[in-house]
Amino acid sequence: MRHALLKLALVSALALLSGAGVVSAKDTVKIAFIGPLTGGVSANGIGGRNSADLAVRLRNQDAKNKYHYELVSLDDECKANIAVQVATKAASDNAITAGITHYCSVTAIATVDTYHKFGFPVVVWGAVLPDITYRNKYAEVHRVNGTMINQNEEAAKFMLKQGYRTWAIIHDTTDYGKGHDKYFTEHLTKNGGKVPRASASPPTSRTSPPSSPGRRS
């Protein structure tokens, strides 16, 4: 009797195991999402995270897929130092294959060396500083969105076409703001616009609402 019970238990356990085997027939592949999930620009970070999550959910519904995907979301807070920490965390975890990384240019540029060092493939989804892809030639780093060079050329030409001639430029003093200033001014003056003077706003502003208002030029 006891023997029969044991046998029954064994059979059930085997049935359970094989059942579990059917459910997890696909290996799980982890992908990291990194963006500003807290702080002043978190709306963009969360919108990006949800969109990456949507892509993963839709793909997981597809029976033809070879793998099951899991998104690991990490918060870079739109801060360079935090970004390097979370980038290292993702890149040093061998269970994570690739990353969908960064909205803020300050975080995207701060982390390219980390991804390169770890041989970790990333696709930048929102940061526009040209240097992110163009300062180095890292095979690991890709970007689906365009750069601020394209954006400012179009912006300058369009505004001149509207009949405007003189600009005051305000930027946030980060590499991001400086880059916009540089490329917009370049395209503007080349096409006949004037920028008497550029002025900078407090650098704290890119991570949280500024405690003091930006200076006007």
């Binding site: 294959t97 690739a98 696709v123 179009e154 912006a155 609402p209």
Partner: protein, 167 residues
Amino acid sequence: MIYFGGLTPLGVRIRQQMDRLGVNAQFEGTSGIKSDAYIEGLGAKLAEGSLCFLEGAPAEKLPGGAFFMSSYQKQKYNESPEAYGPFAFAATNLVIDAIEKVGPNRKRVIAELNTTRDRDSIIGKITFDDHGQNIVPLITKYVAQDGKWVVWEDSEYATGKRKLKGR
């Protein structure tokens, strides 16, 4: 003209300051203020007429864009995808396509991503140059109209019904 190179939180503050100090200039931002949070932060009235520029075609105008928006709504996320959500969606699909093709191996995924040419996506074609940069020729212009970012060509500013400051 006031041109602002920075992100939404500071953009909102600067536009408010212009109003308080009576600076009657046209305000132009970058992709950094292309967010619903910019308009929500200012209110529809103060945001009205602000301009910004964003790379890529507007998602809702591309074949896959409508699918993206309706799928996004079905998931009932509490937040909007914002300006770069479609880029995150496209990037994730690109990575998944690569893994499906070559397996979850970093080196092979890197090599596969680097071959990306003329790939259809909800942000338009994706082609990486030798720096891994997508070459996107298209820039879309937006103007804030009645509390929304409207594609310039579809706006009442383009038809002349409404006018930018100083025009």
